[in-house]
Amino acid sequence: MAGLDLKDLRKNYGTVEVIKGVDLSIDHGEFVVFVGPSGCGKSTLLRMIAGLEEITGGELWIGDRLCNTVEPRDRGIAMVFQNYALYPHMTVYDNVGFGLKLAKTPKAERDRRIREAARILQMEHLLQRKPSQLSGGQRQRVAIGRAIVRQPEVFLFDEPLSNLDAALRVETRMEIAKLHQDLGTTMVYVTHDQVEAMTLADKIVVLDRGVVQQVGSPIELYQRPANLFVAGFIGSPKMNLLPATVDAVEGDIVRVSSRDLAATAIRARSDGLKKGDSITLGVRPHALVPNQNGNVVGQVALVERLGNETNVSVRLPGGTPLMVVLDGDRALRLGESIILGFDPAQALLFDQSGVAREPL
């Protein structure tokens, strides 16, 4: 039984700090996804857990062991790499069994475990092939097989799907989800693809510039992003962020408006807010609907008709672009004037430091 505990974990390259104190607790059996833009430190953090990067500061606990200086082979982890990293000169059988061979596992036991992994991944027929004779999807499967035979307490995945084509990616994603269900082990998964994050994760960790921005379930992150970064990163198309000004604060009701936005009252945590403050109103493209009494008016600038929904890009008087996703197929003319409204309960306010003012 092994969860993970990261306590103020830090990583410097010389004077450059790339991981700036990460605190994170992962329960046994949880599927955790690290997500963020490239260069945010998500892969570095994963490699620190794996033991491929030295830990500069803080503590890494795997289960009840402090693992800062433990060799990778002794951490009870297995890792799947982005480019598979299969040994080109070994057959699939030897690739999967390499770790066991190094650990001097008896031959019979080794053979049993290799075949067991092959059965789970339905690749028994591939065992005698060399990696060069495999397709991308099959290689990924072997890489996962190599991880399974180690019977790790924690699986680590470093962007495992990004070298696969779109169709195969969806398929393999589902297989990984099933693998997690079957094995029930802790899995840590790094990706820059938010769809992968949303579909696979029990818990998403959003990282930016070496700092954890938010930790939560996929729906929490979608509905209640903690700050502007998460709001902009999770959800597709991105959440609209409209600059506005506070007109009045009445208890937990904040009234805001701007050139693009008629007066709107939103429930929010209002401490410290006062009339005249700049504020950002966030509203998801899906929350906007045409409404003659709506509080946003603009001109249709671009229409993408997808059949089941229609993406409309609207130009507001202040120049801010607004993305709207409408249900069904709508025939809109370019330049046409459009009035949109939204349920204030689905909008969020962000103060000047970018922190979400969620209602308590």
């Binding site: 794996a50 082979r73 890792m79 790499f81 982005q82 990293a85 000169h89 390499f98 770790g99 190599r146």
Partner: protein, 275 residues
């Protein structure tokens, strides 16, 4: 006309190249077949009688089968030097390509220095005498390794840089220690350059004359190149035997050339361009 050009040019090139490059080899072969009297004329003529076998027997058995000893010595020298070169150069190339450290510029400098600087002969002899390596075959093996390391390292480093680092990391996670990573994962993957290295270095070391001359005096451990050099004065009047000897020591490189032509050319050009 546009078709005739390459053909006429080609025929001219074949004739000229044959004259310049093949006639000397033909001369070696013809002379090796002749008897002593005909060979002494140094002519480019057909052998009056075919004496290759008698010539061979005489060359091989002369001076108490010295040529056989020499072939054995040259084989030991070549095989052991190349083996050590391959392993040690690959190890250096591996660390040099993988680990960025402040020692790297120094190592790179030493590699270039090794390619350029002529070895200091007498101090080397003095040092080898002190270490008990002078005049010993294993001493010469170490000399060949020392002098040829830079070239081999350059060949290896360039190739290792193209092997993805994730392979090392996958092996580390699989529980491989540094020696496992190197010998079980990296070294097998280096096989193409290793072949190049083996071929290029073994031809060079087998043909080496200068270093055996300096560091391996004495008849009982002569190499084939030294033997040929010594026969030059001994067989001054028996050109048939001298050229039989030349023919014999040209055979190993010829075999290598026939089988590994491509690797030799690739290795020599790659090493040269990078060096």
């Amino acid at each position: 006309m546009s078709k005739a050009g390459p053909i006429v040019g080609g025929i001219a090139a074949i004739v000229i190249s044959a004259l310049v490059f093949l006639v000397p080899f033909a001369f070696i072969i013809l002379t090796a077949f002749k008897d002593r009297a005909q060979a002494a004329a140094l002519d480019f003529t057909w052998p009056a009688s075919f004496n290759l076998w008698t010539n061979l027997v005489e060359v091989v058995t002369t001076r108490n089968w010295m040529l056989v000893t020499a072939f054995i010595n040259s084989t030991i020298l070549t095989v052991s030097s190349v083996t050590l070169l391959v392993v040690f150069a690959a190890m250096v190339g591996f660390i040099l390509a993988r680990r960025k450290s402040r020692w790297n510029p120094l190592v790179e400098f030493l590699i270039l220095a090794g390619l350029m600087i002529p070895p200091a002969v007498v101090p080397t002899i003095w040092l080898m005498q002190g270490l008990g390596l002078f005049g010993k075959l294993h001493g010469l093996v170490l000399i060949e390794v020392a002098y040829n390391l830079p070239f081999s390292i350059i060949l290896y480093r360039a190739f290792i840089a193209t092997i993805p680092r994730e392979l090392d990391e996958a092996a580390i996670i699989d529980g491989a220690r540094p020696l496992d990573v190197f010998f079980r994962v990296i070294l097998p993957l280096l096989w193409p350059v290793t072949v190049t290295n083996i071929v290029v270095q073994s031809v060079g070391i087998f043909n080496d004359f200068t270093n055996p001359l300096y560091y391996l005096p004495g008849n009982q451990n002569a190499t084939v190149q030294l033997t040929l050099y010594n026969f030059q004065s001994q067989f001054n009047t028996s050109y048939n035997l001298l050229f039989t000897n030349i023919l014999l020591i040209t055979i190993p490189p010829l075999i290598v050339f026939l089988f590994f032509n491509r690797q030799i050319v690739a290795g020599m050009t790659a090493g040269a361009v990078k060096g």
